[in-house]
Symmetry: C2
Subunit: 222 residues, 2 copies
Amino acid sequence: MSHTYPILTVDIVLFTIKDDALHLLLSKRTNDTEAFPNQWALPGGYVHVNEDLNLIDTATRILQHKINIRKHLYLEQLETFSGPDRDPRGWSISQAFCAIIPFEDLQATPEIQWINVKEIQTHKLPFDHNLIAARAIERLQSKSSYSTLPIHFFKGQFTLSELQKVYEIILQQKLDKSSFRKRLDDMNMLTLIKGSFKGGAQRPAQLYKIKTDTTSWFKSTL
Amino acid sequence: MSHTYPILTVDIVLFTIKDDALHLLLSKRTNDTEAFPNQWALPGGYVHVNEDLNLIDTATRILQHKINIRKHLYLEQLETFSGPDRDPRGWSISQAFCAIIPFEDLQATPEIQWINVKEIQTHKLPFDHNLIAARAIERLQSKSSYSTLPIHFFKGQFTLSELQKVYEIILQQKLDKSSFRKRLDDMNMLTLIKGSFKGGAQRPAQLYKIKTDTTSWFKSTL
DNA sequence: ATAATAGTGTCTCTGAGACATTATGAC
DNA sequence: GTCATAATGTCTCAGAGACACTATTAT
C-alpha cells in the first residue's frame, strides 16, 4: 500500500447569463503556484481540513476568498476527475462543482473573466478544465430540460417571459410559451408576487419568485 | 492553508438480483483496521497513487482484491461524501461508486454477504454507509426508469420477460408488457440472438443480448 | 386607434398504459 | 385437445407542441 497522497482540489464551473448568452467564469491563477501560473482556468483550490466541514464548504470558501462571493449560491456536485497526468504536480483528484449566480451579484475584477460557453472550446484551458466545463454544460442543459434549476440565474423576482428566455438560451432552442407555462405550473415551484408587475412600453408582466421551502428538491443528482 | 491531509477512500455499492429481489453487497472489514474492525460495511479501500490510474481503477482494484471479482463490471461514479465526522480516524473523503454484477458471477465466501435492499435500513452500517446505500438505490431506480441499465444484471443473454421482471424488482412496480417492449425497442440497445430460445414447459422465448458498441452510452450521469 | 408584449384557449398528434388477442411450445 | 407463457395488436386517454386568440399597457 502506498502512502503517497494525491493532490486534492475542488474546481467550480460557475454559470451566469450575460448579454443573453450562457457564460462561465474563469479566474486568473496566482503567479506563485507551480501549476500554470498566471493562466486563466476554472476557479479552484485545495481542501482545507481545518476549516471546511465538507467539500461543498470548500467550494463555498473558494468562491468567497478568490472570487469574493458573499451570497449563498446554488452549488451541486458534478463529478470527480482523477489521475496521474491531469495535474503537472502529480497524481491528483479534483471534485468538480456546478454553480449558478445572477450576473448582477458578481462585480468585475481584473482577476476574473466571463467566457461565452459557445467559445469555450476555442480556449485551451489548463488541466482537464475543458472536459470539466463540457460536462458541466451538459449537466446544466440536462437538468434544465426537466427541472426549475434555471430560476437560480435570477436574483429574487422575474417574469415568466424572462425565465423562458433563459431556458431558451441554455437549451439552445425556442420553446412554446403555452407549454412552457403549463409545465412550470405543474412543477409548482413559483409563487406570484401579488400586485407586482414589470413593464416596459407594453403590457406589464406579473412577477414571480421561488416558492419558499422548496429549495432542497434540486440537490439530488440522480 | 492547512497541510493536513484527509483520509481518502473509495466505497462501492454493488448490486445484484438474488431470489427475485434487489440485494447489495456487504463485506467484512479486516480486524487490523482502526475503524470498525470486523464489522460489515460497504466494500471500500484507500486510493493507491502508485497503482491506480484513476478512481474507477481504484474501485476495480478493490473489487478484485477484496471481493475477488475478475470480470469487468458496470461501474459508475455516484457521489462524494466528506467531512470531519464520518470516519473516526478523522476528516475523510469517500468517492462512492455504483456497480452491478450478475449473481452467478460472484461466489459466496465468509467475507461477503448479500443484503436485501428492503432490509438495509434495519442494518446499522458503519460510517455514513446507510446514506451512501440509500443514494445508490435512488440512483439505480432513477436510471432504470429511463435507460437500459438493468441489462447489466444479466450475464450475456436473457429473454424480454426476464428483463422485465428485473425492472419490476428494481422499480417496485408492475410494468405493462406491451409498453415495456415498445420502449426497449425504441432504445435500440438489444439484438436478438438468431435461432436461440429459452423454454420451460411453455412457448420458448427469444433470447437477446446487448448490442455491441453501445455500452459507453450509460456512463454519463447528467 | 396602433404597437408590443403578456397571458390563455383550442386543436392535433404522439406516446404510454390498459387490455385483448394471437402464437407456440410441452403435455 | 389443454395449459402456460410469449408476442403482438387495439383502444383510450393524457400531455406536449403548434397556433390562434384575447388582454393590457404606452403612445
